[in-house]
Amino acid sequence: MPTHETVDQIRTLLETMPKERASLLPALWAVADEMGWIDEERTKAIAEVLNLPVADVFGVASFYALLPTEPARPVRVCDDVMCRLKGSDALIAELRREGIEALASPCLGRCDQAPAALIGKDPLVHADASNIRATVRGEG
């Protein structure tokens, strides 16, 4: 069971949203944006506030790649066709060697400025180890 504190916090966050199924995706984003990630407790709290089965909330939340389930803020590096042409697989390996948590991401839609990365919600184009490092540490 989620704590009353978590439920109250999420109830406040979702105050203006209609308490219906169609609010689920915006609700998940609101929790991800404001609280950082959506863990099991928060999943249950969202279900309680929107009056939905926990399984449905989990089923939807876990379908999407961008909704974080834990506190880490990984760097997503596009490893699809066009970014790979520009060396994104080597870039991912280099970042991991440096201890930066780099996830391979499907196409980020910035193939004209490959390789592309997504750090939090912010896109980074013509990405390389040094500008990713600067962005990650700059936000440190």
Binding site: R21, W29, P106, G109, C111
Partner: protein, 407 residues
């Protein structure tokens, strides 16, 4: 000279989401023009202009609008599909960033033409910078009374799922369900979002409606070909000097798109062209010879078994082993398959497994057999088109010869 319609002129000084821009682009005129017309007249003009869907399917837009207008049931919805997520495809991002009003004005006009009272703009979560521009433009339109009580407009942010761009999966996503595609028919025009008649269109299609309404049918048909009037946004990427989005009339020579110094500008580093993947991850590979001969239009491309698709043009130079590209595409589809139907869930996996072996590329019968099963039996376009690029290589064996290694 190439004419810009959908993309604003580079020298435009107004902010993309400002009222000044709305006026400068002629979109306020378009809105007033549409408001003075009967909904049936708007639909007739869209049909006469010959606009076809720019998201990839090229379905006649006017016909789709008629069927939503004729469908019983209220409320009706209009949806802008800005969930662009296919490798090589980024034209909607650039269009919305540079000129958010085109597509939004098209959406408002579409709502009037089909009798819709609610509008949604569905944007992928990877484009939150673009979403901010669109949000600002919606606010400008609300302040001017073009959106409001008569027509609400809500942005929905996707959260990282390629399949959500499939129209019925997108409806499920808005409804708070898993974005899994629905079986069609019934089609969205009669049974769409929340089970109501729904018009869903690609960003670029809607922008075409806005520029049409700012002018007239004769003006619209001045560009492009008789069968495919108008212009197309193409997204050039890969081994090309000037990657980016360009607006060209339908019927332009494909080689000009790639080599014209004002367009692609040719292949960099003195290398030769190996292949072009037309239309996106589910597109068709064409050879340098085909590139030099074909016009960029549906009819001529169909004769090569190719299509314009979303407008993606992915360029590979002679150093690229096409096998690795195909493996990466297979990996993409296997990753993004929603898992709902067996031919796609299993088929995309089998493709990845099969292609791990270079020998498999010459086992045409086996690949075609798997491809056919996926094309025939998958619920939606993802599974149906996932094997397309691979199958296009069966007729083009030269593309599978070993690439020159990069120095």
């Amino acid at each position: 000279m190439r004419e810009h319609r959908l993309l604003p002129h580079a020298e435009s000084a107004s902010a993309p989401a400002s009222y000044a821009r709305l006026v400068e682009r002629g979109f306020e005129r378009a809105l007033q023009n549409a408001a003075s017309l009967d909904p049936a007249d708007i639909r007739r003009q869209v049909s006469e202009a010959g606009i076809m869907g720019r998201g990839g399917a090229a379905f006649p837009t006017g016909r789709k609008w008629d069927s939503v207008a004729d469908a019983p049931g209220t409320p009706k919805y209009v949806v802008m599909n800005a969930d662009e997520s296919e490798p090589g495809t980024f034209k909607d991002r650039v269009l919305l960033e540079k000129d958010p009003f085109g597509a939004l004005v098209g959406l408002i006009i579409a709502a009037r033409a089909v009798g819709a009272s609610h509008a949604y703009v569905y944007i992928r979560g990877e484009y939150q910078d673009v979403e901010a521009v669109v949000r600002e433009a919606i606010q400008t339109l609300e302040e001017r009374g073009y959106l409001g009580a008569h027509l609400s407009c809500e942005i929905r942010r996707g959260a990282g799922a390629y399949i959500a761009g499939e129209e019925t999966a997108l409806f499920n996503s808005i409804e708070g369900k898993r974005p899994e595609p629905r079986v069609k028919p019934p089609f969205p025009t009669v049974h769409g979002l929340f089970g109501r008649p729904t018009l869903i269109q690609n960003v670029e299609t809607l922008a075409n409606v806005a520029v049409l309404m700012a002018h007239d049918v004769a003006w619209f048909r001045e560009q492009g070909t008789e069968k495919t009037p108008g212009t197309k946004l193409v997204a050039l990427s890969g081994h090309i000097r000037r990657p980016g989005v360009y607006e060209v009339p339908f019927g332009v020579a494909l080689k000009d798109l790639i080599y014209d110094p004002e367009l692609g500008g040719g292949i960099p580093d003195g290398r030769a062209l190996k292949a072009v993947l037309l239309g996106g991850a589910a597109g068709t590979f064409v050879t340098p010879e085909e590139v030099s001969e074909v016009q960029y239009d549906y009819g001529p491309l169909r004769q090569l078994g190719a299509s314009i698709g979303s407008g993606a043009i992915m360029v590979f130079d002679e150093t690229v082993p096409i096998q690795t590209v195909v493996r990466q595409l297979a990996h993409f589809f296997a990753d993004e398959s929603c898992g709902q139907c067996v031919p796609c869930r299993i088929g995309t996996r089998r493709l990845v497994e099969l292609l791990s072996d270079d020998e498999a590329f010459s086992d045409h019968e086996r690949l075609k057999d798997l491809g056919r099963a996926m094309q025939d039996a998958s619920i939606c376009g993802l599974g149906q088109t996932a094997p397309m690029a691979l199958l296009s290589l069966m007729d083009r064996p030269t593309l599978l010869s070993t690439g020159r290694s990069a120095n």
